[in-house]
Subunit: 431 residues, 2 copies
């Protein structure tokens, strides 16, 4: 039943597609040997050639090259399709892949409309073919440590999580997209106003809070600041006469979103990409009755910790910055195993781990650990946020894509899955 | 016209009243000599005796002592009344003071109902007697540096601010309030669910955003997590059978609030007092088109800063922690002057500065730099938040206490006021 080696159709060789191919999948072809890229697809010829070059350099088998997605869908050898194309149309491409009977991995992002999410679920339930958003941050070290702490009860009952995408986008590159006619993100900043990029923070929070598995989102409220950052940057760096200095951008500079869950937990998200900021942060924060994980504080704290790590009334910074020490004590077993075997490139290992999770699922013929319901839910956030912002922050209902199955779906035991194979249909391994 | 020395009626000698008396006002009596406590009032006899002892130790004149607020109001010698009583009833006490023709300073907090705020304004407009919320954090070093940076145009156009009260309250003390029958805060946690304590962060943000002076709040939306922290603490530390482990607390552990302003700026506030957390933070954050001030990042950054302090695409922490350096370059002139003269106790100087601002206003017979409209607005947040939470986060309209005067009220020039006396009716000095 288990496949020793799987064949992938790789669609999209832009910045992200290239990075994943180079740092992760081509490495796996070469080192692990259980995967090969059978078809490589991109509409843009230089992109596909770049991808080909990478595979050749690693000594991987020569893939079929095409600019037509249908060729990927029609290829009978392919077990799985990985979609690394721009945001728009990913759900539709995933649906086509499921109908063709191929496992689907899609790069992170949001659907443009809720209907895409419903359609994805409809076809998933009809075909039974797994689809997985390849949310790498679900596999980052801090987030995985938080799963582990939670599993061990060290955080107590979790009542609130924060997350953000605090990353000033390289603006020159954004504006270059216009020049180059590629329009990956800039069109979204011109025409839309919403939490367009929530999954790096929401994915791990969603896993930890067991959304779709005993818990579900209830409402979402979203708020946009005015939009000034891109225009000001264009004025200052491209000149007052630049068309980009005289263009209106609908996207607010800072988007705050609050999600309430049926179990009373709240989630706060912030999208922060167009104003000057000096450091990247996902502001990953888990607040429980017995402990806190805080990326901004670079700390993990428990209620019953001895000084100097914990004192309720302490002010100042002395209780920050113990994270390195905490990693040593509480690293997630999967991450520990991964480190022991030698970490890989690609965002500190998380790219490697998320791709392994996908590949192992394909090899084992099991469901993916981030499944269709998670994928649909995460894809839906952009549209929900857009609707709430358009209504001045009015709470909007979050769909239940499981149609009630969340009440009975078993949680994935984050501290155990993938290692001791407790959850056979959630299996993942790193080599 | 200007008074050389003013006489104060001091009402409330609890924890906060004692601290302010000891570290600030008794010191001013002794060192500056332009103020004296003429009447000292508290219902609780040991409290008033403690205050008396402090004044004696400092060699200040012996005040009249009373447990009856009416004695303070009736005293003809008194120029100003400082109210340091519990949260409830402060607006009413301030109104009585204004009617008695006394300047009023009130400790930070929220009104219990909007009507109190409207009444405060009605009486202020009728009597013309200034009232000032003594929001010390408006005078803290980081916040004042931000005013200065903003005045100099170094932050560009401000589009968003964050603030928080991230401070785990000492729980043993909270529960002791019940034992002692004093009930300062705990009753509010048992019976209410709202952003009860926003002004430490909102005060400075409000000043910087020039609310009531060319800008105003439009809507407020507030969200509460479930309430678990106090109960869990009581279970773990007082025992399963403790009445506090079996009590229901309405107050959510984490309250997130989003305020939108007419000029398109958004404000995000977070109240975070009942769960384990390891460090105090007001999360003071100002985001402009040309710069950022971030307490959590311990940093100030400008768009055009040379490396290593700024690089749009940089990830990681290397662009954090330059705040000390920035203080040297951009300290607010008032804070610089204050430091040159030797800092005082009381929360790093801000207690001293806010009290000086109040006292100078009284001496000069001018309006207070935090005025009746600011005070009413800040007092109103708790009730607005309570209403929004009760409606699932629906945005509620924020009253315009100025009744349109905000359109024409001149901004206080934060970088200049108090020092060169540009704004005669906003004067404040530190000695």
């Amino acid at each position: 039943m288990k496949k020793e080696k799987i064949k992938i159709g790789w669609v999209g060789v832009g910045r992200r597609g290239t990075g994943m191919l180079k740092n992760v999948v081509a490495e796996m072809c070469a080192q692990v040997g259980d995967v090969e890229i059978t078809v490589l697809c991109d509409k843009y010829q230089p992109a596909v050639e770049g991808g080909l070059e990478i595979l050749r350099e690693k000594g991987c088998p020569e893939p079929i090259v095409t600019n037509n997605y249908q060729d990927v869908l029609d290829n009978p050898d392919i077990d799985a399709i990985v979609i690394m194309t721009p945001w728009e149309g990913r759900a539709e491409m995933a649906i086509q892949a499921m109908r063709a009977g191929k496992y689907v991995g899609i790069e992170v992002g949001c659907a443009m409309d809720l209907k895409e999410c419903y359609d994805l679920i409809e076809v998933y339930e009809e075909t039974g073919v797994p689809v997985m958003m390849l949310e790498n941050c679900c596999y980052d070290r801090r987030e995985m440590m938080a799963y582990n702490l939670y599993e061990q009860g060290l955080l107590g009952e979790v009542v609130h999580c924060d997350g953000a995408y605090g990353h000033e986008l390289p603006k020159a590159e954004l504006f270059n997209e216009i020049e180059e006619g590629r329009h990956y993100r800039i069109k979204h900043y011109i025409h839309r106003n919403c939490e367009q990029y929530p999954t790096h923070e929401l994915g791990p929070i969603s896993k930890l809070l067991r959304l779709n598995r005993g818990n579900k989102m209830l409402t979402l409220s979203s708020f946009a600041s005015k939009s000034c950052g891109l225009k000001q940057y264009a004025k200052d760096h491209l000149g007052e006469d630049s068309p980009y200095a005289n263009m209106d951008y609908k996207q607010g500079d800072i988007i705050n979103t609050i999600i309430t869950c049926v179990n009373g937990v709240t989630i706060h998200l912030c999208l922060d990409t167009t104003l000057p900021r000096s450091y990247y942060s996902r502001n990953f924060t888990v607040r429980g009755t017995k402990g806190m994980v805080s990326e901004e504080g670079n700390t993990v704290i428990f209620d019953d910790m001895p000084l100097p790590y914990y004192e309720g009334f302490t002010e100042g910074a002395k209780n920050k910055n113990n994270e390195e020490e905490m990693f040593k004590l509480y690293d997630h077993p999967l991450h520990k195993e991964y480190q022991a075997k030698g970490t890989k490139e690609g965002h500190g290992g998380m790219d490697w781990l998320v791709m392994r999770a996908f590949i192992e699922s394909v090899k084992n013929g099991t469901n993916t650990p981030i499944d269709a319901y998670d994928t649909a839910l995460w894809l839906s956030i952009g549209s929900l946020s857009e609707a709430s912002i358009a209504q001045g922050g009015a709470p909007v209902a979050v769909p239940d894509f499981t149609k009630g199955k969340w009440l009975n779906r078993e949680p994935i035991v984050e501290g155990k899955y993938c290692l001791d194979k407790v959850c056979v249909d959630e299996s993942v391994a790193i080599y």
